[in-house]
């Protein structure tokens, strides 16, 4: 009888590929998200240079500023892999430090975005001003929303870690949050070049 129960329990963890379902499902979701951002980016690209009235992108984009925020987000991805490494090793100290760094960098990126949005707004670019306003704010805004959710998610993990509830056996939680975070980063890599650098 004990054996039967053990079999049943094993069955529960059985997968045909040996892969973890959460991770597989999450990669699938990322595939789906590619289309979500793909559509937003398509729209931006179709409307690029089609605004009838200003301000136009060349007049208001601040490349040095965005370079800094891009760099911040990129480095947060580095911190993310280090955080995962810390959790996998069971080092609470490293986990908390690096998760904390990711959170801080993510928040910094958001800060830059808030600054950028309000700056553009004062330059006369509203959501309803022209095609640039609509397509730019909605694309980067949805990206920012993703960053925001990432920060909330990672903060939750940080709190768990602080309470000692993030042992190596739960590294998968961090790994999946990490996949999300890196995905948001690669979307920004694309946005940075297509929206900011190629005008």
């Amino acid at each position: 009888m004990a054996e039967a129960a053990a079999v049943a329990h094993d069955d529960h963890h059985y997968t045909s590929t040996g892969l973890n379902s959460w991770k597989l499902g999450f990669w699938t979701l990322i595939g789906s998200e590619c289309l979500f951002f793909g559509t937003l980016i398509s729209t931006y690209m179709v409307y690029k240079g089609q605004s009838i009235v200003g301000p136009f992108s060349g007049e208001i984009f601040d490349i040095p500023l965005t370079t800094v925020s891009t760099f911040v987000l990129l480095m947060s991805s580095l911190a993310m892999v280090l955080a995962l490494d810390g959790v996998q090793r069971g080092s609470r100290k490293l986990s908390m430090i690096w998760l904390g760094v990711v959170i801080l960098l993510g928040a910094t990126f958001l800060g830059f975005q808030v600054y950028e949005f309000s700056h553009f707004y004062h330059e006369g670019l509203g959501l309803d001003t022209n095609l640039l306003g609509s397509s730019f704010y909605v694309l980067t805004g949805f990206h920012g929303t993703h960053v925001f959710f990432g920060v909330v998610w990672l903060t939750t993990l940080w709190v768990m870690s602080a309470r000692g509830k993030l042992p190596p056996s739960k590294a998968l939680n961090v790994e999946i949050a990490g996949l999300y975070w890196h995905f948001v980063d690669i979307v920004w890599i694309v946005i940075f070049v297509l929206v900011y650098l190629i005008q």
Binding site: C34, G38, I41, L179, H182
Partner: protein, 108 residues
């Protein structure tokens, strides 16, 4: 600390060493610097392909090493690429339809 310093040093979860991650981070930073430099240098016709190439490199590096696709099951790559390929297809098709085909001068 796991002792491997190269890309092939992967355990079951496929994680490389800390030093390796820092190196990748460094490469990404350099590539970003190159992008911005290319932007300011106004290289004419090569600028756009160059920028696209550089960002593609960053993209691939993050996906392969930070997201571990290089070390992980091909199935993860598969479900990711299913979406990614269609997304690239869609962006390119719409760009063609809006910015290239109308300019071909065939009366519509």
């Amino acid at each position: 600390m796991s002792s491997h310093a190269d890309a092939h040093g992967h355990g079951e979860g496929g994680h490389a060493s800390v030093g390796f991650y820092w190196a990748i981070g460094g490469i990404l930073a350099v590539l970003t610097a190159l992008e911005v430099a290319a932007y300011y240098m106004e290289l004419g016709a090569v600028e756009v392909p160059l920028l696209l190439g550089l960002s593609l490199a960053k993209f691939v590096i993050v996906v392969m090493f930070f997201m571990h696709l290089k070390f992980d099951s091909k199935l993860f790559t598969g479900v990711f690429l299913a979406g990614m390929v269609l997304a690239i297809f869609m962006v390119s098709a719409l760009m063609l339809l809006y910015h290239v085909v109308p300019g071909l001068g065939v009366g519509a």
